[in-house]
């Protein structure tokens, strides 16, 4: 695991390390199997185009949400805790394309015993469109409390 980030290391405006995913059809089928979402436009191209009027197979929104979640989890580390994640599904991600997860610290504050950071998070498609914008709140460990 990457080294632990502490509250004191964080500044407002700071960017989180990006997480780039490149989901292949196989990954969508694995997701379907893991979650039980067998909606056909996630693996059947004809179905996606003809029945659902989509440009092609699309990545499950909830999977993109998990990519964003993983980016935050990876950043907060084992000592940090993700408390809240909020995403909106605004655009589509397609398989065999990069899905780039990004984040930025918006605010940091101490609330009681908790060292909180508020984040802006989103995923982008290769066109640079934010497909899944959202916000997150995490508690980070503090060096002072160590």
């Amino acid at each position: 695991m990457a080294k632990q980030v502490y509250y004191e290391d964080v500044t407002e405006g700071m960017e989180l390390p990006q997480l780039v995913k490149h989901p292949m059809p196989r990954q969508l089928v694995q997701w379907a199997g893991a979650t039980g979402d067998y909606n056909e436009f996630h693996y059947n191209e004809t179905f996606a185009k003809v029945r659902s009027n989509l440009p092609g197979i699309i990545v499950h929104g909830a999977l993109v949400c998990q990519f964003v979640r993983q980016m935050v989890s990876d950043w907060v580390g084992d000592e940090g805790t993700l408390k809240k994640l909020n995403v909106s599904y605004r655009g589509m991600n397609f398989p065999e394309q990069d899905c780039i997860c990004k984040g930025k610290v918006v605010k940091k504050q101490v609330q009681g015993d908790d060292h909180l950071v508020e984040l802006e998070v989103w995923s982008e498609n290769p066109k640079g469109e934010k497909t899944t914008p959202g916000t997150a709140v995490a508690i980070l460990p503090s060096r002072a409390k160590k």
């Binding site: 059809p25 196989r26 089928v29 694995q30 379907a32 199997g33 893991a34 067998y38 056909e40 693996y43 059947n44 191209e45 004809t46």
Partner: protein, 142 residues
């Protein structure tokens, strides 16, 4: 569930046919349950690129259908001892796969009452795509 007994079984007797109407969705479900994520079972362009006429049904899904054919027939007091299958022909999602079986031998070994069954899947042309054999132990008599 119905129970079949050893004394009712005759050599040559046919098992009730199990029909499976397959779909691509089912293959995706099978991939999730079995862990076989080979693209030839759900990614049509991929399957065609590898020289196949289209998506094909997992051989092991057909083997599992045959497992069900036998276990449905033998009933809750029966025991499946052995099943052996070979993949000989392709089947495609959307096809109805007919699972059939026939008793070839009944015999006792020690205290067990055993029945050998010939099993197979059949496509619409009547071709046996997945032939095999199974051995089950059955309760003696009612």
């Amino acid at each position: 569930m119905a129970q079949i007994y050893f004394n009712h079984v005759k050599e040559g007797m046919e098992l009730p046919v199990l029909e499976k109407k397959t779909t691509t969705r089912q293959l995706v479900q099978w991939a999730g349950a079995s862990g076989d994520f080979n693209e030839i079972h759900y990614d049509k362009p991929w399957a065609e690129k590898t020289g196949l006429p289209g998506l094909i049904i997992h051989g092991r899904l057909k083997a599992a259908f045959l497992g069900q054919l036998v276990t449905d027939w033998m009933g809750p007091a029966g025991t499946l001892k052995k099943i052996d299958v070979a993949y000989r022909g392709m089947d495609f999602p959307g096809d109805t796969v007919k699972c059939k079986g026939k008793v070839v031998k009944k015999y006792t070994r020690g205290r067990e009452r055993l029945v050998d069954v010939e099993v197979w899947t059949e496509n619409a042309k009547g071709e046996k795509t997945t032939p095999g054999t199974a051995t089950v132990a059955l309760p003696a008599r009612r």
